[in-house]
Symmetry: none
Subunit: 231 residues, 2 copies
DNA sequence: GTTTTCGTTACACTAATATGACATAGTCTT
DNA sequence: AAGACTATGTCATATTAGTGTAACGAAAAC
């Protein structure tokens, strides 16, 4: 309940978008809008919303096609999607669920229903570490207070190092290339040298101290990995 | 590393093509060029490049028209396109995105920006493969965490040994010649002595230890084989 | 017993990463 | 609005890890 959740509304009809946006904003969400798949994709990559509301029928790339594309791509695969559809079409529903859509609402729907479902999906899908503290071997990151402690002692981190650590702690035991880290931590469409990642890794390790810097592991020829298991 | 990505540069001005080609080749991409839509189309069908850089303004079929055509055809629909345009024209930008162009760069641009964007688009577009861990007789290789364990104990491998083992474990019970291994593990166009393979086999066996080195078997006169069955 | 083929080791060379220093762009103070 | 901080990205350099070759010994094959 700290920072409000950001929802991207994708629908080709402006009035519908507006209606939804108003309803959601009253419920305390932050909304952005897109009227086609391309624009939506760009916004998602850049801003990483917490949720996407996706209209089924759209000119150009259809909703379901778009959903499938989002699921396939690493950067967007984890973002929850709620599909909006005009008619109760069982067939579509099946397809939608197969695509990995998280929920499915048929128009017309009441704002109350929408908000309720949205909340439910967010509760289900919000991974630990986004609002719950994560701890690994005495190292704790609390996203709410935006604080990191090592065995109780506060750790001083710059904003980037914080995000980096947060990403690592919520995606442990997995090797990431520098490009991937740039995508996931820095956000899409920024271009910085890959070596810059090394520098921030260095700063992070330094801040973690001897007691914990083993958690940030170098995977030669590949990138980095966060793990409690020693290599 | 992996096979380099091939980029087709479509622009009617030869100097510009050249400039771009040089920048990309320095960054490790393989370039081909076309100065009109027809030629470009032929090359795309023949060579299936991983990416098309498309100039907005071209005599004959314009860039945007061409992009639309590519999107419509089954075979070319999935090839990512980056549009190059001379002026900051918002209107064009919109049209371009509607056409399904993946990104959009306004001239003049720095080589670095170009390469960065290209990389980003390729990363987004390349579908993430589902990588499952492989296990053979207590020996496990996990591509995701980029780790190898023998009966739970971590095994320390260099990058090449890792790739070698990965190849072996995903292609077991089959003998490969040294040159085949060089092709598959080292990558196509590298020249190294065949005997170098022996050395890496040796390093791999050593790292696997007595418990598991039997898995890497010598096929005299032919090459090597990975198998759980003893010969 | 001679000839191949493979195993092993040592070593020079390269490539990848770590690190420290610096320039720049914001922010906040005063 | 100038000065003091902070954060960040990039470079240059140091350090370390990984690679490929050659040379020689050991096993097979003939």
């Amino acid at each position: 309940m700290s920072a409000s959740k950001r929802v991207l509304i994708v629908d080709d009809e402006a009035p519908i978008r507006e209606m939804i946006a108003v309803a959601l904003e009253m419920a305390g969400y932050e909304c952005s809008e897109a009227d086609n798949a391309q624009d939506a994709h760009a916004q998602i990559v850049d801003n990483k919303p917490d949720m996407v509301l996706l209209d089924w029928m759209m000119p150009g790339t259809s909703g379901i096609e778009f959903a499938r594309r989002l699921r396939k791509e690493e950067v967007t695969a984890d973002i929850p999607i709620i599909m909006l559809t005009a008619k109760t079409d069982e067939d579509n529903k099946i397809k939608g669920l197969e695509t990995g859509v998280d929920d499915y609402i048929t128009k017309p729907f009441s704002p109350r229903e929408l908000v309720a479902r949205l909340k439910a999906v967010l509760r289900r899908t919000t991974p630990k570490g986004v609002e719950e503290p994560v701890t690994v071997d005495g190292l704790t990151l609390d996203p709410v207070s935006h604080r990191v402690t090592a065995d109780g002692q506060p750790v001083d981190l710059g904003p980037t190092e914080f995000r980096l650590l947060q990403f690592f702690m919520t995606h442990p035991d997995r090797a990431y290339s520098r490009s991937q880290l740039l995508d996931m931590v820095w956000g899409g469409n920024v271009y910085v040298e890959e070596r810059t990642v090394d520098v921030h890794i260095r700063r992070l390790r330094k801040a973690l101290g001897e007691r914990h810097d083993y958690l940030v592991q170098t995977v030669r020829g590949t990138g980095y990995r966060f793990s409690a298991q020693v290599a």
